[in-house]
Symmetry: C2
Subunit: 457 residues, 2 copies
């Protein structure tokens, strides 16, 4: 059965109170799908019922795949003993992710549920800066010593495996805990059992520091195609690991942030299903009001040319077309650049080369669009104004498309250069800026060709 | 040394022809970084020199991290014998990715370099549909039988490991090659050596079919947090595996496509650094011309109100502001919805619930922006028209923000429902559609309040 089918069946069985079938279905389902089903249930008591119907050993696993908001709800529904057990069993990085999502007063309540060991560990992990690797890592890993034999190392791994989140890599540390190497478990298995671990060491491993930005871990794991990455303190002492699944979650969040920024929305960090209208309002009103100010400048630009407009009212016909085309060409280049900068396809130093390329593309686009629109101008102008209006709108289109593309291309680079996020060059911002410049260009060209009243300044 | 520092040093050593130091640096560098350095070199002979300076056993590995365009260049620079060796050593999924990037005539040339075995395998993989899982998979995997002992299975894995791209999962198949289970290598190592493999089987594994869309593999791997996934034919016979690193590359490509679509650009599929101006022109002109048509409708809408505009020329002052605000609010909601649909945060069936939420958010946004802009209207209208103009722009702003947000929210859902990509609801498209409706709303409200000449129809 498909994933979605299973979820729908589960919810149906719950509503129909078919507890025996429900139990059987739960046994066969993956914890990720059970978590998905729980988050689709609206009723609190149904949600709790489903969760507590799970055998104890699957509850924490299921819990770890719920959204942080859902986790908070489930934990507050559980009795204290069960909540304590779930929090204790949660792997440390998932526990940190949950705790950091809480308000300060809620945090206090949940910290009280932790035993002294878990509390100490959680406070330590929460001590790392927000969005740092320390907050992502799990301190559970298996390490061996260079002077051990392969057989002893494998034996140690067998005993300790329940502590480690992953054993694809075996970490070699010295007696002071400093990371010496990361060996593939595969190599350890393939090696002669009486060889020394140090004979397998290549000292070509990757590690990141716990205080570094989590973006760095994303890049290292993606760039070097590895499944888990060692995290150390600044002296090289190994503190934990981050794994590729955590990294994929982070990467998804960062990409979502980029999308939202491009659409001129503040970063949400929570599911849109769970976001309240007031929260969404707050995240959106800021940019909209800034853009209102930019658009008022467009009004001022138009006001300069009011006499020209009164003289040839047909000019207003083309106004939305001209300014929208500037914005559209600009949105295209901004989007291309923001994404290329985000995935490291281009860097700030490439700007001149890309500027030249973008200019030639925009020239081609502008000529095509200018020709097309000048035909409309010719028709609209009629026998009297036809040729003049065709020239005005044709040249204006060429000029605004090139200008829009240049703004759209350069703004992300300038932002990156200023160490700001290039995605701040949102398409609404580019469109609004292009409006202002587009209006000035359009009416200036019109004034030149149509010998209109000069602008009011 | 940082990744970037190492690349810069390498290129400097190459330019200075310090071959001995170059050799030492190459020895210490990761193949991913060497590939990055090669792609940053402009000169063909320098590029070839760097590649051939690599010890033979690192060449293919480095090659596999080059872009497909770079691979084509390097292969055409190498002599036939060396090109044949690199193509032979390449893992099958990387070879497929390279071959499918070629033009038909180029493809023929490169296929001639393959030995009979490789050729057969490559043609088979290329036989799967474009963007299918078959094109991504590698047919190299290690499988064991249920009736083997753990010791025998491990022994088999040790012998066959060089054939497998990954051994985190061990696949259990029957005598006809049908997939029975996927066992974690970890579990195999932790088990008693004389236990039977079947005792470890849980029959809770994930697999996908080779002919399915690669998006499916991305979803399964991300949803279930696994590192490698079995690929079968429709009878369940195991054909190969796809691994998380291939999936991350695919996911990155798909996300880039979404970004580009949102910016109204056709999907590029190649690096923007390598894309020619004519290629970029072709990918962008289509949408721009479609949008020109939409914007011409805006012109027609304005033409309907030309008399009203001549009567109160101050109305033009607010025109860019009103229509841009509709587009901005619409871009925000479209971006939020497109991304939420892409990551599965919302589904088509949620549309009504989200519509209600979006309406209340837009109401709040519209009231705030309407109040702000009515103050400007009051000032702009002067003692004579002040109050009336304040009402016109205030109500128009409220109406267009709500309307823009509704279009931006619903269009992605409608596209999804029609099985089209929701990202086709690009911000330039939303902006242009919102322009048309915004103009109609604005001048209609103005005609009502200001008792202007009625529209020309």
């Amino acid at each position: 059965m498909s994933e979605k089918g299973a979820i729908i069946e589960l919810i149906a069985l719950l509503k129909l109170e078919k507890d025996r079938e429900l139990n059987e279905t739960l046994d066969e389902m993956a914890v990720q799908d059970i978590a998905e089903a729980i988050s689709q249930i609206d009723d609190e008591s149904d949600r709790l019922k489903l969760f507590t119907m799970l055998p104890q050993e699957r509850r924490t696993d299921t819990f770890s795949y719920l959204s942080q908001n859902q986790q908070r709800i489930i934990l507050s529904l559980l009795d204290n003993g069960e909540a304590r057990r779930v929090l204790h069993e949660l792997v440390p990085d998932d526990r940190t992710a949950f705790l950091e999502s809480l308000d300060p007063e809620e945090l206090e309540g949940f910290l009280k549920l932790l035993g002294p060991e878990d509390l100490k560990q959680s406070l330590k992990l929460l001590g790392y800066p927000e969005e740092s690797i320390g907050r992502l890592m799990t301190p559970r890993f298996v390490s061996v010593r260079p002077n051990w034999t392969v057989a002893r190392a494998l034996d140690h791994i067998r005993h300790e495996a329940h502590r480690g989140e992953t054993v694809n890599f075996v970490f070699v540390t010295d007696e002071r805990g400093r990371l010496l190497d990361a060996i593939k478990l595969k190599d350890l298995i393939l090696a002669r059992q009486d060889a020394k671990v140090e004979a397998l060491m290549k000292e070509a491993f990757y590690s990141v520091q716990a205080s570094a930005d989590r973006e760095e871990a994303v890049q290292v794991i993606q760039h070097y195609d590895i499944n888990s990455l060692a995290v150390t303190d600044k002296n090289g002492v190994m503190l934990g690991i981050v794994t590729v699944d955590d990294i994929m979650d982070v990467a998804e969040q960062e990409i979502t942030e980029d999308f939202h920024k491009l659409g001129a929305t503040g970063s949400l960090n929570i599911s849109i299903r769970e976001a309240s209208p007031t929260f969404l309002y707050r995240k959106r009103i800021g940019w909209l009001m800034i853009l209102v100010l930019v658009n008022l400048v467009s009004g001022l630009a138009i006001a300069m040319f009011e006499d020209a407009i009164e003289a040839v009212i047909a000019l207003v016909f083309f106004l939305p077309l001209i300014i929208a085309s500037a914005g559209n060409a600009g949105s295209q280049s901004a989007t291309l650049m923001v994404r290329a900068l985000a995935i490291g396809d281009v860097e700030v130093k490439d700007w001149l080369q890309l500027w030249i390329k973008e200019f030639s593309v925009a020239l081609g686009l502008g000529i095509t669009m200018g020709l097309a629109v000048s035909l409309v101008g010719f028709w609209r102008g009629g026998p009297e104004l036809g040729i003049q209006l065709a020239m005005v709108v044709g040249f204006a289109m060429l000029a605004v498309v090139i200008m829009g593309a240049m703004i759209g291309m350069l703004l992300p680079f300038i932002l990156q250069r200023l160490n700001m996020d290039p995605a701040t060059a949102s398409t609404p911002l580019i469109t609004s800026v292009a409006d202002v410049v587009g209006i000035l260009i359009y009416f200036s060209i019109a004034s030149l060709i149509l010998t209109l009243p000069s602008p009011v300044t």
